[in-house]
């Protein structure tokens, strides 16, 4: 209701802009909102005036609601973006998903992540948070009344973080390099390394799940999210190499876990289809081949 009133108030203000500019000014800053944000989010019109601060209760309330809006800057193929989405889904947080264009990188991305210029970036109350595992922990911290993502015991938390870091620093880079392997020997070596990593993770699953369905126990947790986001790309690699990486014989628990993870309510709508990822991977590989000098 107040959003509707705010819109009509702002429309009025917009058409009577000169008078409004006189009214303005030394008033209380409106939660640091600039006219640009007011106009785009509420009114949809550009506001070509100098900064004005409006003391209008309905506009204030609408801006307060807009200000608490959660945005996630991401890209559909990115497993790291998926982590943030799953975490937000677990906590039932409504958010606006902004698909990054990349070519060129958007001003929002460059402003909110000047260090790495990468997705995902979570923007909460205009404050950006970068790096997927940091975002997941942040979401767990902020929305603490929802289901917990990290385990409750410090040692279990440390173990979950350990394997998540291992996945990012060692396992996933190896998986990625399988696609770009130079020659069959190199590919075989990398595939063996990926397999060894999966054996470690099978063992970790048995230890941390304590007989339950997920790394996090009864519900998906930090390590489920950190690892599960890579399942799509794991399947892509299996499809492109013809090698079964997650297999029933060597990693039976992970196979069952993967099915359960992908079917989970917080995951299934944000897990990209493997066929789409394969197409995307082929496109990337073609681009790389085209730009590599002979």
């Amino acid at each position: 209701m107040s959003m509707y009133i705010a819109k009509s108030r702002l429309s009025y203000i917009h058409t009577n802009i000169h008078r409004t500019q006189e009214i303005v000014c030394s008033q209380i800053q409106l939660f640091n909102m600039t006219p640009k944000i007011l106009s785009k989010d509420i009114c949809g019109r550009s506001w070509n005036t100098a900064r004005c601060y409006i003391l209008d209760p309905f506009v204030s309330l609408a801006c307060r609601k807009t200000k608490s809006e959660v945005k996630l800057l991401g890209a559909w193929p990115s497993p790291f973006v998926m982590r943030a989405r799953i975490a937000l889904n677990i906590k039932s947080v409504s958010y606006e998903f902004l698909e990054e264009t990349f070519q060129p990188k958007s001003p929002l991305l460059l402003d909110s992540n000047p260090v790495y210029k990468k997705v995902p970036v979570l923007i909460n109350q205009d404050k950006p948070i970068c790096e997927s595992l940091i975002i997941v922990q942040y979401v767990d911290d902020v929305w603490s009344s929802g289901p917990s993502i990290l385990p409750s015991e410090p040692y279990d938390r440390a173990i979950a973080r350990f394997w998540a870091t291992y996945l990012d620093d060692k396992w996933y880079p190896t998986l990625r390099s399988v696609r770009g392997a130079k020659g069959e020997d190199d590919r075989k070596k990398l595939i063996t390394e990926v397999g060894e990593g999966l054996t470690l993770l099978e063992d970790a699953l048995n230890k941390t799940s304590r007989g339950k369905d997920f790394f996090g126990g009864d519900q998906i947790g930090y390590l489920d999210i950190a690892f599960g986001c890579f399942l799509g790309w794991l399947r892509v690699t299996e499809s492109l190499t013809g090698v079964k990486l997650l297999d029933q014989v060597k990693t039976p628990c992970l196979v069952k876990w993967a099915e359960r993870f992908c079917a989970h309510g917080a995951v299934k709508d944000v897990m990209p289809q493997t066929e789409k990822l394969v197409e995307f991977a082929k496109m990337l590989m073609a681009k790389m081949a085209a730009s590599t000098p002979n």
Binding site: N124, Q137, D141, Y155, F162
Partner: protein
């Protein structure tokens, strides 16, 4: 306290181990320190850290943990006195971000600046300086990254300027100077002056030849 034993497997010249020593000192935790010979790793190290086979490894109540930044978080969560991480979720995210940034971006470019030659070295040094300059964002209006007192980020990254200072004696490149990075420079001097920090630093006379060997390898 019985059953609360803390053991730290380390190496005197390791910055990652130093972080853990600083964290344990800030929390006032007593522990048994075991010096590892990295050219001949002990069975205990290989058992406790089979994935990476590296130091530091913290063993608490018989349970081992590896990876220094994770160990820092564990220490902070287990012993509540003198908190290392800030209270607010956003500030905590920032602390984790800057600590990881130093490991992932700063350190490789700093090492490259000191180990490469010619044009590659110049380029690496430029990148290293850019990365170091970025850290000043975290110091805005504060004496330490943790505020009035040292916190997680200070302990996580405080080793870097010390190591850079020593490497600058081996290779004639200046990365941190008072003019271009005033905040970082004054932060470092304030940090290194704190008694519990200073007394745990590896001595310069040992670290200098060690760093020389590392860079020239």
């Amino acid at each position: 306290m019985e059953g609360d034993s803390v053991k730290l497997l380390g190496f005197w010249g390791s910055p990652a181990v130093l972080r853990v020593k600083w964290a344990l000192a800030v929390k006032g935790i007593e522990y048994q320190y075991v010096e590892e010979d990295l050219s001949n790793k002990s069975d205990m190290l290989l058992k406790y850290n089979p994935v990476y086979k590296k130091v530091p490894v913290l063993v608490h109540q018989g349970k081992p943990l590896a990876e220094s930044l994770l160990i820092l978080e564990y220490i902070d969560e287990t012993w509540k006195q003198n908190p290392l991480l800030p209270h607010s979720p956003y500030e905590r995210a920032q602390a984790r971000f800057w600590s990881k940034f130093v490991d992932d971006k700063c350190m490789p470019t700093v090492v490259a600046a000191f180990s490469k030659v010619g044009e590659e070295q110049q380029k690496a040094a430029e990148e290293a300086r850019e990365n170091l300059k970025r850290l000043e964002v975290g110091l805005e209006g504060k004496r330490f990254f943790g505020g009035d007192n040292i916190g997680f980020v200070d302990i996580a990254i405080g080793w870097l300027p010390y190591w850079i200072g020593i490497a600058e004696e081996v290779v004639a490149i200046n990365l941190i100077d008072a003019e271009s990075m005033p905040k970082l420079n004054s932060w470092f001097h304030a940090f290194i002056d704190i008694p519990i920090i200073k007394e745990l630093l590896p001595p310069r006379h040992k670290l200098l030849p060690h760093t020389k060997a590392f860079l020239q390898a």
